[in-house]
């Protein structure tokens, strides 16, 4: 395989690293390179997400007390639906991105904390601290590297962005960019799917209960 690139060692190192990354991705038995945002636009993903979301919403509706164990009676149903939507989105990402893992991990921590609070005296704060400490120590190294790749005014914006995208508070700048790209694409799909679901449901409820007052959304936008 003839490489026609320049003979500078830096370029060769970059090419080698890219090859290594590709091999690592292939060895992990994942067909795609680090999460491609284009997959969120496919019809198949949209359908899978919509049906999973419908199921999750139905579970939420059926019994929030059964799931959360009455330790968190407060999340209003709207928020519970939102959380179910986020969880399904994270599952759809198949654990390839930081933000999806963070969503699932925080949800698991909260469930475990609620569960433990139900059984005995709360031992949950230590576990949260452990997880936070582990992620902080692992990420402080990359935080130092981040300063080298982003000038200060950018670093401020990047920090704000890191707070918005779950689980990306201390990532390096390029990783943060990639995560953001995937996160935005996923959020767009989430909005599309939820909008379609809401339209379908409102259409159904409008037809199934005629004369139930005015339904303002009878015409599509």
């Amino acid at each position: 395989m003839a490489s026609t690139s320049s003979s500078t060692p830096a370029a060769e190192v970059e090419v080698e690293e890219r090859c290594r990354k590709r091999k690592r991705a292939a060895r992990a038995a994942e067909p795609a390179a680090p999460a491609q945002p284009s997959k969120w636009r496919t019809r198949r993903e949209h359908e899978i997400y919509s049906s999973k979301l419908l199921e999750a919403i139905r579970v939420v509706r059926a019994g929030p007390s059964a799931a959360a164990g009455a330790a968190a009676p407060a999340p209003p149903r709207g928020r519970a639906v939102g959380e179910a939507a986020d969880r399904e989105l994270a599952v759809a990402a198949r654990g390839r991105t930081h933000w999806s893992r963070a969503i699932l991990a925080s949800r698991r921590r909260r469930l475990q904390a609620a569960h433990r609070a139900r059984l005995r005296a709360p031992a949950s704060p230590p576990s949260r601290h452990d997880a936070a400490a582990a992620s902080a120590s692992a990420a402080s190294a990359s935080a130092a590297a981040a300063k080298g790749t982003a000038t200060p005014p950018l670093a401020r914006k990047a920090k704000v962005l890191g707070r918005l995208v779950p689980g990306c508070r201390k990532l390096s700048f390029p990783t943060l960019l990639a995560e953001t790209t995937d996160y935005i694409a996923a959020l767009q799909m989430q909005v599309r799917a939820m909008t379609a679901l809401a339209e379908a449901l409102s259409a159904v409820s409008a037809t199934s209960s005629p004369g139930a007052g005015s339904s303002s959304s009878s015409s599509p936008l």
Binding site: E14, R79, G82, A85, A158, Y183
Partner: protein, 86 residues
């Protein structure tokens, strides 16, 4: 300067490519006038776009929970939706 370049594992070009990919997702990409957007502006717009997407998801989830509350499980409507989604 060259020593810093060799230490950093990601080059400027990769960052620029990531940024341009991000830019194509943003709604402002439609009225793009060449690649004039500075990275700072792009990041700022990204932040506000994510926030607006979050808000929209919250609105939609409220709406969905209201709709699900009024809907009956076994109504034929639910069957239709399920078959449509499958």
């Amino acid at each position: 300067m060259s020593s810093r370049r060799s230490r950093a594992s990601v080059s400027e070009e990769e960052i620029n490519e990531l940024i341009s990919r991000l830019q194509t997702l943003l709604p402002s990409a439609r009225r793009r006038v060449g690649r004039e957007a500075s990275t700072t502006k792009l990041l700022k717009e990204t932040c506000s776009y994510i926030k607006s997407l979050h808000r929209e998801v919250d609105n939609l989830s409220d709406r969905l929970s209201d709709l699900m509350a009024t809907m009956d499980h076994n109504s034929p409507g639910a069957e239709i939706i399920r078959s449509l989604l499958r």
